[in-house]
């Protein structure tokens, strides 16, 4: 089923956030996605970030830096976002497996140039709360702070877009192969 995208955002101002930080290995003994829900980013130590805070609880979009999701191939990382209704990550770059896992789950791993990511962080610095609207058809995002906004377009491969439209790789592959 096709997912919905956009909403309140949380900003993680560090590169190379790995999948052990997104969901530590000790929780990989769960056999359902729902069971992962309380453990989203639980071991991420980052100034000002509280894994039990309201900001993360309300977030529907994560904005972060380069090489997000590096390390383990665990799809538990996108799943812990999915069960917390975070269907979009916006980053400067991703580790390949994490990026593919996001699209395979029918979710968005949007890549933006560093300058655009910097603008989003600047908006968050000034506003605190940033709401991000995502228009997949037109490949545009609009990030709204308290008094200003940042608009930009993004690239997405036709294949990744088709996966999102289909609701994920299983649906896509099952219909085609």
């Amino acid at each position: 089923m096709k997912k919905t995208f956009g909403g309140p955002s949380i900003f993680l101002d560090r590169g190379d956030i790995n999948t052990d930080e997104i969901i530590p290995a000790k929780y990989l003994t769960e056999v359902t996605k729902e069971a992962l829900k309380p453990f989203c980013l639980v071991d991420l130590s980052l100034d000002g970030f509280d894994p039990k805070g309201e900001k993360l609880a309300n977030a529907r979009v994560i904005v972060t830096r380069e090489n997000f999701g590096c390390g383990s191939s665990r799809e538990h990382a996108p799943w812990v976002f999915e069960v917390n209704e975070i269907h979009t990550v916006i980053a400067e770059s991703y580790a390949r497996i994490f990026r593919q896992n996001m699209f395979n789950c029918g979710m968005l791993a949007i890549e933006l140039p560093k300058e655009q990511i910097d603008k989003l962080f600047a908006l968050e610095q000034g506003s605190g709360d940033v709401d991000i609207a995502i228009n997949l058809a037109e490949q545009k995002i609009v990030a709204r702070g308290n008094s200003s906004e940042v608009c930009c377009s993004f690239e997405i491969s036709q294949f990744d877009k088709a996966l999102v439209e289909a609701g994920g790789w299983v649906e896509y592959a099952d219909a085609r192969y």
Binding site: K26, T29, R74
Partner: protein, 426 residues
């Protein structure tokens, strides 16, 4: 223009190109373990598609937490076990016969030059040591692999790494790959294959080549690839002797997968590693690398020898050569996990297990265990481990713990002194 090894494999396995730049490949090996497969199995059941595309091309093992440590891990093992039985997956390795996936599958001869392989495990890149394209994937890719035998990739560009010179004594494949990751950075090879060439690789055993390729992912690489040669043929010969009239014939066949001399590379890196010293990581990223000498004196609480990087027989020989006649420092807990039952038995027969035990090491059964902080040697907060594994992320081996990556030889020397030590100083 000629082709790289990965380009040749992609061309030979191309099932579909739904969009320009996206290649759907036929997969020769879909490899499964008990951590990432159960959710795929449950999803296939939920969809009413509990089928497998080919029970022979699928291989499965319980390796991450084994024997089960609690009810949850017992359930994961049971889901995989029941599924393997239900679908008559003959090559399924359970307690007593199981070992670390990236050691046991090559050891059984399942990976051949020119093959495509996927597994829900990032260190699947290890299998590229055979001249194969092997990539770690998530559970959804694994699920589609199980059901349809295909996987989609952006065709990766290739970085060619020429390893020139000759390694000094006491310097090993682990030191080389740590050095290369230090040069490339943790995302220096993202969406790239790393193709290893040069005299240093040519003289490496398959065990050493697997160590080299195992850590390609730590530079973000999709796969590490070594060129198939007579070393590859010799390793695989017991499994292929009925397929080929002679080793020369096997070699000629395997060499179809060797990169063309005029292949196009994204980047070519030349390293003369003759002066390379034993390498050790500091900090929490695998590209934070210094020499063992620079790190000397750093106190550790635990030494862990094993894993898909360095748990093979040659690794145990390296460590045992340093440990022989010596004992582990009082302040250190030494743990060694031979990566497969075969390796364990070889180590027993060669007297290596005796050396480890005499030195005061705890010898565990084959398992991934401590490497990712799941069992058999998890660290307490504030503790430090010298490990032959592949990731030094903060908390990787237990919340608040720190890991220094190094070769089995350096780890053994460190166990004896209790502080990071260059084994060549003994």
């Amino acid at each position: 223009m000629g082709q790289t090894t990965a380009e040749k494999i992609f061309a030979a396995h191309l099932r579909d190109e739904p969009f320009q730049g996206t290649k759907v490949l036929d997969i020769d090996r879909v490899l499964c373990h008990e951590i990432t497969t159960p959710v795929a199995i449950a999803d296939l059941e939920w969809r009413g598609k509990d089928r497998v595309f080919d029970a022979v091309k699928i291989k499965a093992v319980i390796d991450h937490v084994t024997p089960a440590k609690d009810s949850k891990t017992a359930l994961q093992a049971k889901i995989l076990r029941d599924w393997a039985r239900r679908h008559e997956i003959k090559d399924f390795f359970d307690v007593g016969r199981n070992g670390v996936c990236h050691a046991i599958f090559p050891e059984k001869g399942y990976i051949r030059p020119g093959f495509t392989a996927i597994m829900g495990d990032s260190h699947t890149c290890t299998h590229g040591a055979f001249g194969a394209f092997a990539a770690g994937v998530g559970t959804t890719d694994l699920e589609v692999g199980i059901l349809k035998g295909v996987c989609a990739f952006r065709e990766p560009k290739t970085i060619r790494v020429n390893l020139n010179g000759k390694l000094a004594g006491g310097v090993y494949a682990k030191d080389v790959i740590l050095f290369v990751i230090g040069q490339l950075g943790v995302n220096g090879a993202t969406d790239r294959v790393i193709e290893f060439h040069g005299p240093v690789v040519e003289t490496m055993s398959m065990d050493a080549r697997m160590t080299l390729c195992n850590m390609a992912i730590e530079a973000g690489g999709t796969c590490g690839i070594c060129q198939p040669d007579m070393v590859t043929v010799e390793y695989l010969w017991p499994f292929i002797e009925e397929e080929y009239a002679s080793k020369a014939e096997a070699l000629a066949d395997f060499q179809n997968w060797v990169a063309d001399t005029d292949a196009g590379y994204d980047k070519v890196l030349d390293f003369d590693v003759s002066a390379l010293e034993p390498q050790v990581t500091y900090g929490f990223k695998p590209d934070c690398v210094k020499s063992a000498k620079e790190m000397a004196g750093t106190k550790v609480d635990q030494v862990y020898i094993g894993t898909c990087t360095n748990g093979r027989i040659e690794d145990l020989r390296q460590a045992a050569a340093v440990l022989k006649g010596r004992t582990v420092a009082d302040s250190v807990r030494g743990i060694v996990s031979p990566a497969t039952p075969k390796i364990f038995q070889e180590a027993l027969a060669e007297g290596l297990i005796q050396i480890f035990m005499d030195a005061g090491f705890c010898v565990t059964n084959p398992t991934c265990g401590a490497c990712l902080g799941m069992s058999n040697g998890v660290l307490a907060e504030g503790e430090v481990c010298a490990a032959t594994s592949n990731r030094n992320f903060s908390g990787r081996m237990g919340k608040g713990g720190m890991v220094h990556l190094m070769s089995p030889s350096t780890a053994a020397a460190t166990a004896i002194t209790g502080v990071i030590t260059d084994a060549r100083s003994f």
